[in-house]
Amino acid sequence: MTHDKTIVYPYIPNSAPQTKAEMLRATGAKGTDDFYEDVPEKLRLRRKLNLPNPLLSEAALERHVRELLDKNETAVTHLNFLGAGCYQHHVPAVCDEVNQRGEFLTAYAGEPYDDHGRFQALFEYCSMMGDLLNMDVVNVPIYDGFQAAATAVRMASRLTGRYEALLPRTIMPGKLSKIRDYCKTDTTIRLVDTDTKTGQMDLESLQELISEETGTVYFDNPSYFGIIETQGQAISDIAHEHGALCVVGADPISLGVLTPPADYGADIVCGDIQPLGIPMNYGGGLAGFIASHDDERVVMEYPSRLFGIAPTRVPGEYGFGDVAYERTSFAIREEGKEWVGTAAALWGITAGVYLALMGPQGMADIGQSIMARARYAAMQLNKIPGVQAPLFEAPHFKEFVVNFDQAGISVAEINEALLARGIFGGKDLSHEFPHLAQSALYCVTEIHTQADIDHLARTIQEVLER
């Protein structure tokens, strides 16, 4: 083994030799090896780990990582129309300011005394989401919208005692895969057809499939294809008539203008709060929410933390803590209620800041702005010969399917050409849903100006004319 000169690491204060020696003396150990006496020699790694040479100076480290990351193109340098579960909305500067404060960033599981700020910020996030959703109970965020949906389905199974869930056939395939895996042990998933014209749920198919075995009827609103499901009340009525619960996946940024699912009968609402002040982060900025009415039986089924407000010994002072900490389940097979772990709290605080900045009017404005821009984009694309947009005849929120069959070109080719011209075209759906043939999922938000959209349309037109 080579002898390495002693390095003192900035992150490791006691690597200074003098301190080390003092502390060893205090413990009576001859060397740090003494502390590993329980590790059998056979399991001791007696060689150095074969890792890249360290970048000891911060300057070198920064340079290296930046050089790596500079190989990325971004939505700053390119015009981005991708959505499908990760969205480019404006991230308010105040959101970044709050979530990079060290007090929040580096806190964890302190008591509601020393970490009162965290509890209050999360309680406020849950409260504001409650306003948005028109529901009284919202959880502290979990990993992402997929987990939220899968968990919500299992909660519904436990609540009804019926282990079958009906989902739309055109649900996002990744989400379906997650729900299938997560529910593998107990809940059967069956798929309901969607109307070929509108893309909305086919109520006849629903009526056919639903039975006394069904515990959950689930749909996303807007759907994977960006379609606004306008039959929500009918769907939840059908579900309730059969003793099933209605679970809806919602996009929180749409709820300033769209009716909250609770108002058309949803029992549990779930989704992802990434649009609320969290950057795209290459898909690594997700956080899931689950919400319901304040029904004791339902509350008891949440596998995530719920923070409640409580009085302290000083009148007028707010304190917080875990609600129903030792939560029970009334359906015995699942009395473990899944698990509770570190998830996505800081994003919850961020989303709370977002909602506080926006207020009621801001949420109404942004919903309208997004819908108008998306509609405008669809209209412009539709004018291009060979392009059909939107493919489905229904109201859309921020995403819509664009079909290129008549233009005789594949989505892959279009996207390649768009990329060369500095545009990220919509997600290619041809593999996920072959029956849609050459279709792509375009996402337009409040950050797309009219000029951006016109540029997209012109560029596509150019590409097709080649």
């Binding site: 129903a324 900490y325 030792e326 029970t328 389940s329 015995i332 097979r333 009395e335 473990g336």
Partner: protein
């Protein structure tokens, strides 16, 4: 804070409790043992322990009516702590017995006290049970003052007892749980023989922050565990195979789930979801075993985790042999296992051969699809301190 005039708190001190321990005697029931202990120089701890508890209640002095028995059974220490108690009943100083405890408790219950706070040991708990059990009416709480307390009606520390009492009387506690009163044969124990029986259950206050007091989980947490365990046992029942249910609330949960009643401190027999024998004795069990195979379902009793003690007259070694060791199902809430603090379950059936077969490691059902592997020792291996 509830405004309800003066709140009544009952206080009973067993002056002889804790007498034996300091001088190496086990327990202190009976005048003979007490005399021996005093001769050895023992001083009772009950008064000092009670003082620690009462100090927690001083803030409530103005709104509290402390009801207690004369002299060394509560009046003295109450006055010493600054209370002005209502003294009821009469005693013969220096010669108090369990009967006095029972009369005191009965009288206090009739006066509708909000809580009976008592200082003593297992014997005292049994006396309280005799007077005001089973667990429906007045809540009780024990201040530990005995040698080694097996009954779960005691707080783990006198201060905690006082604090729990105060919270209850302030109206800040609304939940209760059932706690075991255990019957330990002290004489047998002095001979190194374990003889533990479930005597009954009493209602004690529960507070989340002080949950460690009672060495157990919350009522809701425990309820869930009981439901889950019961469901698991029911799911593995076989047609034509009896379930011989030992005493305890854990086994009672099985009967509950099937809509049947259960003899809480006795042995019931179920067959194909029906109750075929209640509070059965050994003879009845053996007779039934002539006709059907069985599973014995038992739960550890008392703070020492006894699976089979010689006090279990019903589930005797003969019954165990006839059923088959492999057909013994042990069930327990996780909370109860934790209270053992790492000590193994104990068996002392009276038949060493049977004990040896049971010793080692055993599977314990602790929930639905949840089990624990736990150690079982038999008496010859066990040293009592």
């Amino acid at each position: 804070m509830k405004k309800q005039g003066l709140i009544k708190l009952g206080l009973i001190v067993n002056p002889a409790a804790g007498l034996g321990g300091a001088v190496g005697l086990k327990g202190s029931d009976g005048p003979a043992i007490q005399a021996e202990a005093r001769a050895l120089g023992a001083r009772p701890k009950a008064q000092a322990r009670t003082r620690e508890a009462l100090q927690e209640l001083l803030p409530l002095r103005e709104t509290l009516e402390l009801v207690t028995y004369p002299g060394e059974m509560g009046e003295d220490i109450a006055r010493e702590c600054g209370f002005a108690p209502l003294v009821i009943g009469s005693i013969q100083a220096g010669q108090t017995t369990g009967t006095d405890t029972q009369e005191a408790a009965r009288a206090m219950s009739e006066l509708s006290v909000s809580l009976i706070l008592f200082a003593g040991g297992d014997g005292t708990a049994r006396d309280i049970y005799e007077a005001v059990g089973p667990s429906t009416a007045v809540p009780v709480l024990g201040i530990p003052a005995g040698v080694k307390i097996h009954s779960a009606v005691y707080a783990t520390h006198p201060r905690s007892a006082g604090e729990l009492a105060r919270l209850l009387l302030e109206g800040r506690i609304s939940r209760f749980r059932e706690a075991e009163v255990v019957d330990i044969d002290e004489a047998a124990l002095r001979q190194g023989v374990v003889s533990a029986n479930l005597y009954g259950y009493l209602k004690i206050p529960f507070h989340r922050r002080l949950v460690q007091n009672m060495k157990s989980g919350s009522p809701t947490g425990e309820q869930t565990a009981l439901h889950a365990i019961a469901q698991q046992v029911i799911d593995q029942m076989q047609p034509g195979r009896m379930l011989i249910l030992g005493p305890g609330t854990t086994t009672r949960a099985i009967s509950d789930r099937l809509g049947l009643t259960k003899t809480l401190i006795g042995v019931d027999v179920l067959l194909d979801r029906e109750l075929i024998a209640a509070d059965a004795n050994e003879q009845q069990l053996l007779a039934l075993l002539d006709h059907h195979p069985a599973q014995i379902v038992i739960t550890p009793i008392g703070g020492q985790g006894y699976l089979f003690g010689r006090g279990n007259q019903q589930i005797s070694p003969a019954v165990i042999r006839r059923t088959g060791i492999e057909n013994i199902l042990v069930i327990s809430t996780p909370q109860k296992i934790v209270t053992l603090g790492g000590r193994p379950f104990l068996v002392d059936s009276g038949d060493t051969a049977v004990d040896q077969l049971l010793a080692g490691y055993i599977r314990v059902i602790t929930g639905y699809n949840e089990q624990v592997i736990y150690k079982v020792n038999f008496l010859a291996l066990q040293h009592f301190s």
